[in-house]
Symmetry: none
Subunit: 419 residues, 2 copies
Amino acid sequence: MATSTIISIGDELLIGQTINTNAGWMGKKLNDIGIEVNHILTVSDNAIEIKKALDYALKDSSLILVTGGLGPTKDDITKKTLTEYFDGELILNETIFELLKKYMESRGRPLLESTKQLAYMPSNADVIFNKKGTAAGMWWEREGGKIIVSMPGVPYEMKAMMEEKVLPEFENRFSNETIIHRTIMTAGLGESIIAEKIKDIENGLPDSIKLAYLPNLGVVKLRLTARGTDEAWLKSEIARIEKTIIEILPKYHYGFEDQSIASAVQELFVDKGLKLACAESCTGGQISAQLVQIPGSSAYFKGSVVAYDYDIKYNLLKVSQNTIEEKGAVSAEVVEAMAKSARELLNADYGIGVSGIAGPGGGTEDKPVGTVWLGFSAKDRLSSKVIRLPLDRVKNIQMTSNYALHLLLRFVNGENFDS
Amino acid sequence: MATSTIISIGDELLIGQTINTNAGWMGKKLNDIGIEVNHILTVSDNAIEIKKALDYALKDSSLILVTGGLGPTKDDITKKTLTEYFDGELILNETIFELLKKYMESRGRPLLESTKQLAYMPSNADVIFNKKGTAAGMWWEREGGKIIVSMPGVPYEMKAMMEEKVLPEFENRFSNETIIHRTIMTAGLGESIIAEKIKDIENGLPDSIKLAYLPNLGVVKLRLTARGTDEAWLKSEIARIEKTIIEILPKYHYGFEDQSIASAVQELFVDKGLKLACAESCTGGQISAQLVQIPGSSAYFKGSVVAYDYDIKYNLLKVSQNTIEEKGAVSAEVVEAMAKSARELLNADYGIGVSGIAGPGGGTEDKPVGTVWLGFSAKDRLSSKVIRLPLDRVKNIQMTSNYALHLLLRFVNGENFDS
């Protein structure tokens, strides 16, 4: 099996200003294609330290993945250091230079001398083009089949290079075993409850198939990983196990392969030719923002009223002042009225209404921090449900948004909730 | 100055199942007391790898902080490996054994053989008692004044040992140097343009002060780090340089020390007793969601109309159909009308209006993907500005939101934009 070392370069990682999430993400992706990670070395933007880390890494690993230090500023010395280490020299790459010029032109900015440095690339490395930014990556092939890849530290730039170039190339060259992943997306149940429900399936898994639970703010991914040489058998086993799991979790399973709930909502609404509108209080626009992240959302999503202040609930959403005073702003009655009003005001088929206490302040004995009411409206029915969340403000908002969209799927599919 | 290496042990860190937040936390704490972190090494639960990491660390650093691998299960081999490495042997520690017995008794659990292993400690190390769990830490003093500390990987157990024992002891022994960090937050300029503007300052920095650029979607942090023994001089130098940088970037500097733009907006509005409302199209609620993440936002934020569909712009926001047809939905006229309408409809002092093409679809030759108009309204004035973004849909939305809030700060401070 091919083995790898990840070298993360950047002072900000050593002083704890930035948490090194890149290395974990890369470790997971490499592992998924059967490449073991021997070590992760985090070092400063310092040529001596970078060279020492390379010495260490090249002793054990055949693949070295370096991130960070490729920007245009003075503290970015990775390219120069790697080029020296591998006895190359930096020469102007005309293709990159032209791309940089276009990039700057399109943004109406001058091409500075420091930016031009980004077009100088090592003479003995292949270029990995950067579709998300300006600093290109590098790919060296060295004696003994060693490969050294250098990528930017900006997470989305690194991820794009990994997914489009590095991982497919590695998989192609080094994977002699078949690895099949299948991810079942669920929402609305905690991981221990799911584990309890499917424990017989888990205990009966063959040795070649593993199950992992990946929980994240109301969503739990169940990842099945099969490894072996008999691809047909592995595929049929994965399909059989997947079917059994889904049968046990019919309301909670909503998709596959990292599909977001927002994308499942879009699929359902576009499929049925329906329109959606929201009225958000405590989530402050998060539900809408999540829906709009998916390209094509304009096909079904009408919009939202973020009624953060009380008077927007009265004046714009026409929730009666009596209802708010009698039942409180965080109540079944208010979120159902908000959902109804959103549907009518924004001319949609379905409406969502959300009101709750995200924290840290605002809790009462009756309605502690984390109490959130979710309301749903269709032409001929209303329903609502209360949830109680245990996290901090930002996470409570995100979790509320996930719950709201998951319950919306169930509501549109005909379910009514008994709060 | 004392220098250190952090060694994080655990397979889960290499395969990305757990993100290594411990190392960042420790790096920050060590840095705060003037101890430099040379490197962070993350290795698997494997004796050979742990010993290699120790070899590497002991070459450069006088202080080695090891976390992980101290639990009672089979894969926890750190204690055994370190004891071998430092030529000690494991002997039963009666004090820890008694504590373990009490701990298990108080939980009504039997003392298993695997748990008893936790009471065997190296003959040549001091014990660091664990007040939050069962696995004790170790403290070796070796030739050349080197110190090796081993702690559990459970974050709150490690943090308690660091705060109660390791950091005070280190500070007491080694802190003769001061390290001062100062982070200047900027928005609206790319890192290369900033670098160009302040290159004279950067070239004139004394050796004891370093400057780093940390860019993220329209925001660039400028981090100054000063090291030395003359604390008063370092402080005055940092203050002087900070002042000079801010003078060069008056419009773009908005805060210090990792402050988010949303928090700066909140500060300004609460300070002036003003209210804010938004009308969002392409950002779909992201601007509002970002504002609402800050506790206390209800003090100034009224709400938002997410006008994702055209007809919301006509019907709810009352943008004239003529204007949209003549100028297009992505235009100065439309975002100014949206900003005005948000302010009036939601009864606020200032309004934001945003309309653009986030991608991947919807671009035209005239208005390619990434074209976004941002509008701002006050009682007596309107202004707008166009930006062109180069990223993918999700990043373009996030970047738009950062730009909008930053321009809002400038608008409230009296600036009008010439598009």
